[in-house]
Each structure stands twice: as C-alpha cells, then as structure tokens.
C-alpha cells in the first residue's frame, strides 16, 4: 500500500510528460525527443526565477511555463515546419528533435554549469501519517498541481478555439485545412502546450530530485514509455499510462529489486508492445486527443 502511494506523485509527473508526447504526436505525428529537456529547462528557469529574481514559487512556476512554452513553439516553427515542407522521412524528424535535445542540454550545461542545483520546496517535506501510511506535503502538492494542470489542459482542448482547432487537426489534417484551420499554427500550439506542461513537471520534481543538465534524458524516456503504455496520441491514455508506470516502478523497486527496477519497467514495456501495441487502456476505437 505504501509503495502504491509512493508511486502516485512520480506517476503524476510521468503523466504530464506523457501528455506532452501524446499531444504533439496526435497533432503532427512527430515523436518529440526533446520533451524531457523541456522538463529540465523548466526546472532551471524556475530555479533562476526563484533565486536570482527572488520571486515566489508560484511565479517561478508561471514564468517557467511561459518561457519554455515559447521555446516549444519556436522549435516547431524553426525546425519542424521546414522538415515538413521538405517532406523529410520520419527518421530525419527523429534526428532533428534529438539534435534539439542535445542543443538544450548543452546550453543548460554552459549557462548553469555541471553542478546539481536544488530548488527548495514551498511546503515542508516532513512525512505526515494518515491512516497507517505516510505521505509528504510535497507529494500532495505534486499530485494536486499535476491534476489541476491536466484539468486545465482538458478544458483548453474542449472549450477554446485553439484547442478545438488542435483536435480537428489531430483528427484529420487535410479536412481541418479545408475549413480554414492553419495546421502549422495548431502544431505550434501543441508544441507550446507540451513544452509548458513539461516545464511545470520540471518545477514540481525540482524539490524532490536535483536539477541537472542531463536530467531530461531519463525523465523524457520514462514519459515516452508511459505515453506508449497508455496508448500514444491519446490524452486519457497518457494520464493512465503515467500513473500506471509510476506505481509499477515503485512496486518493482520496493518489492523486487531497486537495481533492476528500470530493467523490469522496460521488459514490461516490450511485453506490452508485443501483446497490445495500441496501449493497455484503450479499446478498439482509438480516438486521438
């Protein structure tokens, strides 16, 4: 039970990162390998705002989301649009986003240096005992902010003009174009939203883990695994996949072996891919976004 609960906050983080993969994949069919580095940049921007501009945790969160979201839109316009115009094969798109990841990682290394930084938590990390299990206020903060962000994203997609356009593009790019939607713009919205929620995830884990220039690699990979386990390109799938992965990891680490934890996760992934490539939590009719 304790291990199950421990998996939930990290699961929420994985969900946020997975949402980023799925949004972009649904809108433009691109597999964005720089998603994890948006998480890292979010954490660093938040760290800078907090310590150098001396603003509070909430404003750090907002500024980080805005800055990194703009960067996401920039990546779409500068790099992915030219690739699409040239009808580049998918493998070239993969290499381009990997290139973006390398650029981000090493810019961060150049700017903030190689030493791990830590962002203090706005709440205490002393565990509270609730009905026989212990939770930290930080865990509760991660979970509540994470779920709030998911709800905001949901209402953005359902209720706003941009959100509706994005869903239309995800469903049928050409038909959307016919009714006057600019798919490149929707892609940019998807990139910005993904980068923004990635940045938020970065701020949320910054007080738990150290902030380092290469933290994006592992968190990005885990988010991708979560997105695929849940069903790539779907919002509920990404959320379910994230929580599922968080809990499985926690159980595998706690009950089987902490050294082999990630190996167990990846083996599970390959089995899932083999038996049910459309994801664990979806029935036959897959609906995007």
């Amino acid at each position: 039970m304790q291990f199950f609960l421990n998996g939930l906050p990290i699961g929420a983080i994985y969900s946020l990162v997975a949402l980023g993969y799925s949004l972009i994949y649904a809108a433009s069919g691109v597999l964005n390998w720089s998603q994890g580095d948006m998480v890292m940049l979010g954490a660093y921007v938040g760290f800078t705002v907090f310590f150098f501009l001396k603003l509070g945790f909430i404003s750090a969160l907002f500024l980080a989301i805005v800055v990194v979201a703009l960067l996401g839109a920039l990546v779409q316009y500068m790099i992915l649009r030219p690739l699409r115009e040239r009808e580049a094969p998918p493998i070239n798109v993969v290499i381009a986003t990997l290139g973006v990841a390398i650029i981000c990682r090493n810019l961060a290394l150049g700017i903030w240096g190689p030493d791990p930084q830590i962002l203090p938590s706005p709440v205490s990390s002393r565990p509270l005992s609730l009905a026989g299990v212990s939770v930290t206020p930080q865990d509760i903060l991660v979970l509540s902010v994470g779920i709030t962000l998911m709800l905001i994203l949901h209402s953005f997609l359902k209720n706003t003009r941009e959100g509706k356009a994005l869903r239309a593009v995800a469903q049928d790019r050409y038909a959307a174009q016919l009714v006057g939607i600019d798919p490149e713009r929707s892609d940019a919205v998807a990139f910005a939203a993904s980068a923004g929620i990635g940045a938020a995830a970065g701020i949320l884990i910054a007080p738990i883990f150290f902030v380092t220039f290469n933290m994006g690699a592992s968190i990005g990979l885990k988010g991708f695994v979560a997105a695929v386990i849940g069903g790539l390109g779907t919002i509920p799938g990404a959320i379910a996949g994230g929580f599922f992965l968080g809990v499985v990891e926690s159980l595998a680490g706690g009950l089987i072996s902490s050294g082999y934890r990630d190996a167990i996760t990846f083996s599970l992934l390959i089995v899932v891919l083999w038996l049910k490539p459309s994801g664990l939590f979806l029935r036959k009719n897959r609906q995007k976004v």
């Binding site: 597999l31 493998i91 381009a96 990997l98 390398i102 650029i103 090493n106 695929v228 190996a263 490539p277």
Partner: protein, 321 residues
C-alpha cells in the same frame, strides 16, 4: 544503365580513397588521432549493420548500443575467464549478438514507427542495466579491466598502428559483406518491403522472416564491432553503452545517408571527425554538434551521400539515361 555506371565510378572512387587511407599511419603520427580513426572504424561496422536495418528495411533501431555491448562483454568474458583465443571469442560474441537480434526482432516484426523505436530503446536500456547489476559476472559499474589483445596468425596486435590495420581489414570485409547483402536477393527484398510492405507480401515475400533477418544481421555487425572494441580499449564498463551511444550510431547512419553502404562509412568517419574537431571550442561544442545535426537533416534529407549523388547527377554525363 546509369546506376551501373555511377555505381562503378563510385566503387572506383571508394577504392582510391581506401588505398590513400591505407597509408594514413605514415603521416598521422599523433597517436591520439590514430586512436580516433580506429574508433571511427569500429563505429562504421555498427553503422553498416544499422544501414542494412534502417535504410534497407525501414526499421529504425535506437538500441544498437545493446548489441554492441553484448559483443564486447561476451568476447571479453570468454577471453578472460576461459582464455579462449580472440577470433573464436569474437565469433561467439557475434553469434550471441545475432541471437539477441532474433529475440528483439520477434516482437519488432509486429511494430513500426514510434513503437518499434521504443522497443529497441527498451532493449538497449535492459542490456545496460543488466550489465550494471549482474555484478558477479560483469563486475557492475566498475566494468572489465585487462581485456586480452587479439592475435592474428600468432602475431599479437598491440599498438595503435597494428590495430589500424586490423580494423581496416575488418572494415573492408564488413563493407564487402554489406555490399553483397545489399545487392543480393535479400537486399532487393528488403527494399521491396521498405517501399511497400503490402505489395511485397502480395508478391509472395514472407515479410516477418525478412524483418527478423535484418535485425539479426544488424545485431551481428554490432556484436563483431563490440568484440573488436573490447580488445581495442582493454577496459569496458556499462557507461560505454548508454542510450546516447545508440543515438550517436543512428545519427551517423542518417547523416551519412542510411540508404547506402558507403553512406555508413561517410557518416561514421564524418561525425566522429566533426565531434573531435569541435573540441577546440570547448564549452558549447555539443551545442554546435546538435545544430549541425538539425541543419543536416533539414537541408540534406538523404545525408551526405545524397548530396554527393546530387552533385554527381548534375555534373556527369546525362545522355546515359
């Protein structure tokens, strides 16, 4: 007609380059530079296999470091624990990597696109994590130290220069085998599968068998390269086989031109050279490296070899076709 002519011309150019390359140790006297060239040669063997897989059958692997690692550890452990000579150990390592290629090829035949990429990433990570945690055998994070040197006909390969010729010879055999595969019935079938799976199947091609065989071939190339790498370095640890290493192989493959065998050579040597040349800049070296990757895939979609072909196509005799 044109393709045969340009192919012959390409082969002639390649042989000329090779003869020139053969004399490299006489003017590259800096041992570090020679070391880098040797590494690039070993990487080329991995990329050759990757090009057969991704360029010819369209299956993308981001887990080649896993096969490379299996090659390194299997041959090193065989030599160290049972004093098996290099060539037998290397052969067994190659076969072992091929077996793992079949193991990952079986789930892979059902997958494509992002799902296949993720399955191969998962495989590479599993291999690395097992090497890291299976301490009694692999010595964990400390890795293996004192991997024996290879012998060729009773002659022990010791210096960078010796290794240069050993790796050059292996590379020649590797390129020859890869060209043979690409030109054979198998290679043509691969391309048919890549172009249109359904049409190939309708022509009676057993797609699954070909897809698995491509994985086995690419894994064997990586496994053999790994066994060379182990003896060449003398030491190895799981850190040599991270996800970034697999990404590096894929970049070499795509930047060189993944639908060509010569492209593998160009990509591996080119990217290694660029990455070394950028060392002068220190700080933001990898930022520029990343920018080069992005720039290349946007402006040279078929890799460097594609650019060569485009130039040759514009300036050579056009009346042939």
């Amino acid at each position: 007609m044109k393709s045969i002519m340009s192919r012959r011309r390409g082969l002639a150019a390649f042989l000329l380059l090779l003869i020139g390359y053969h004399f490299t140790p006489y003017f590259v006297t800096n041992l570090y530079h020679l070391h880098i060239l040797n590494l690039a040669g070993i990487y080329t063997l991995v990329v050759l296999g990757l090009n057969i897989l991704s360029g010819y059958t369209g299956q993308v692997s981001m887990g080649q470091a896993g096969f490379f690692a299996i090659g390194t550890y299997v041959s090193a452990l065989l030599m160290m624990n049972w004093s098996i000579p290099f060539w037998s150990a290397s052969a067994m390592a190659t076969v072992m990597a091929g077996l793992f290629g079949a193991v990952i090829g079986i789930p892979a035949m059902k997958l494509s696109g992002p799902y296949l990429v993720l399955a191969t990433v998962g495989f590479g990570e599993i291999v690395r994590l097992v090497l890291l945690n299976w301490t009694p055998v692999t010595k964990g994070a400390a890795g293996l130290v004192g991997i024996p040197l290879p012998t060729v006909l009773g002659f022990v390969v010791t210096t960078e220069k010796h290794f240069f010729y050993l790796i050059l010879a292996s590379l020649l055999v590797g390129v020859f085998i890869a060209l043979r595969i690409a030109d054979s019935k198998i290679g043509r079938t691969y391309r048919a599968v890549c172009e249109d799976e359904l049409a190939a199947e309708a022509m009676g091609v057993n797609i699954n068998r070909y897809k698995i065989s491509a994985f086995i071939i690419s894994a064997m190339f990586a496994g053999f390269a790994g066994s060379l790498f182990g003896s060449f370095s003398g030491v190895t640890s799981p850190d040599n086989f991270t996800f970034d290493e697999s990404v590096g192989f894929l970049c070499m493959s795509v930047i060189g031109g993944n639908r060509s065998i010569v492209g593998a050579v160009i990509g591996a040597f080119g990217l290694t050279a660029v990455s070394e040349a950028l060392r002068v800049i220190q700080g933001f070296r990898l930022v520029i490296y990343g920018s080069i990757l992005v720039f290349t895939v946007i402006f040279m979609p078929k890799g460097i070899i594609g650019l060569f072909r485009w130039i040759c196509g514009n300036f050579s005799v056009k009346e042939i076709d």
